[in-house]
Symmetry: C2
Subunit: 272 residues, 2 copies
């Protein structure tokens, strides 16, 4: 709401897993509210976060200064073919939706090669076949297609390849094709002044032991960037894991992260 992504009335209608709406939850703390917080009170926002990925853990470096938070695109894709008997339907007469998904995936991996960078990612994480039974040729497949990149143009080029490839595969396999609503958040470049202060801080605290890197995960800084300059730094995630009870960062790395933050804020405070 503060970042302008949702209106308060939209947010008030959202509910938690227990079915409690935000509007009700807000009533419980109404006595503690002191009024609107103006973004003008702040000169910037610096976020310190565990990396949530394997880059620093693998390289052995202590600090990552974030260059961009990647943008994300996400949509459902549906292939509709013909459900049929897995014993009596000859292979050449099948319109098998799983075969279409598999062929789409193979073709997509091949075609994206010349477009992506080592930081680009794309994922089919959800696949739902219908009726999903071992003796039935699946007539329908709904699957998720998600991709992330720090460059808006590249996100759009990837989208075009996805749409064209799905369309060709649908024609080849006798499928009806439909795309769901595309969800997306734009990439956010970190503010250069804040980022320079973090880089100088990293060079003081962990000389030759830090790197610049994009963030593949979304962070609070994405939304706050609508209101003020933002920057981020990462500390290593042990084993590269995140969103699990094992998520942890070595104490020495945590201390280094806080020291970089202090160095950066000190520099920014003494600038004119």
């Amino acid at each position: 709401v503060w970042g302008g992504h949702l209106t308060l009335s939209e947010a008030d209608r959202l509910t938690d897993h227990g079915g409690v709406a935000l509007s009700e939850a807000r009533q419980a703390i109404v006595e503690m509210v002191t009024g609107d917080v103006s973004a003008d009170q702040f000169t910037g926002f610096i976020e310190l976060h565990i990396e949530q990925g394997p880059t620093l853990d693998t390289s052995g470096e202590q600090i990552g200064v974030v260059t961009d938070i990647v943008g994300i695109r996400d949509m459902k894709v549906t292939f509709d073919g013909q459900q049929n008997h897995a014993g009596t339907t000859p292979m050449h007469l099948r319109r098998d939706a799983f075969q279409a998904v598999s062929a789409f995936n193979a073709a997509l991996n091949e075609r994206l090669r010349n477009i992506v960078t080592p930081q680009s990612v794309w994922t089919i994480g959800h696949v739902s076949l219908h009726p999903n039974a071992s003796s039935i040729v699946p007539g329908r497949a709904v699957f998720s297609m998600q991709w992330r990149d720090a460059d808006t143009d590249r996100l759009a080029r990837i989208e075009q390849v996805i749409r064209n490839t799905a369309s060709e595969i649908a024609d080849d396999h006798g499928m009806k094709l439909s795309f769901g609503t595309m969800l997306g958040l734009e990439p956010v470049a970190m503010d250069s002044r804040l980022r320079s202060a973090l880089e100088a801080g990293a060079d003081t605290v962990a000389p030759d032991n830090w790197r610049t890197m994009p963030s593949g995960a979304l962070h609070d800084a994405t939304n706050v960037s609508r209101l003020m300059p933002v920057a981020m730094l990462f500390v290593p995630s042990i084993g590269g894991v995140s969103h699990t009870f094992e998520e942890d960062t070595a104490e020495g790395d945590l201390v280094a992260g806080v020291r970089v933050l202090a160095e950066a804020v000190d520099r920014l405070g003494s600038m004119p």
Copy 2:
């Protein structure tokens, strides 16, 4: 039970969708039971069935005389990789179970080409990814692999290709591989004497308008074949559909089917 596939005590423990065990259901008709039926009372079993597939509907032929009921093999296959964040895990570090299933499927289709006949079928009808979410690289995939063929040796050769291909894909993609229990029913060749009588009958009732064909679906004749000679004939399924409310056969075709049956029985009865 009669065919010796299950013992009566095994069957008695099976329940219907309402939870009623066969042992209970049998009590309801116990007054009507006249005692065991000996297979010796019968000289053979001829089954007339709707084709459940598109072969006769497509060719416009009226009768199919079955040569073999295909054998079936069915097993679950599991790839275990590494569940991970779909934003922060670089493509080259992923152990994505969906990618493994897709690569397995593509390689299998390619490798089976030189082994199968136009009557062989193989199906991945069930796929279950874990955790099956658009923002998470899937760490596990469980899927069904089913194949059917009229030849026992070919069923075994297909099995070997499936196991070898899955094993190579697992190695390539950093997956742990496991196979579930393999379920199977052997192919059943129709009795040549009964089949010849059906062919002669078809030639009388529908000259130049019938064919011999394997059955890709399982039928009662599979189990009865343990007790006596069996044979089958098919009539066309309108639109090639089955196990649906639309399943139907044209009246003229049904009459032809019954007439072929009568001709065949007449011939068999007058043989020495």
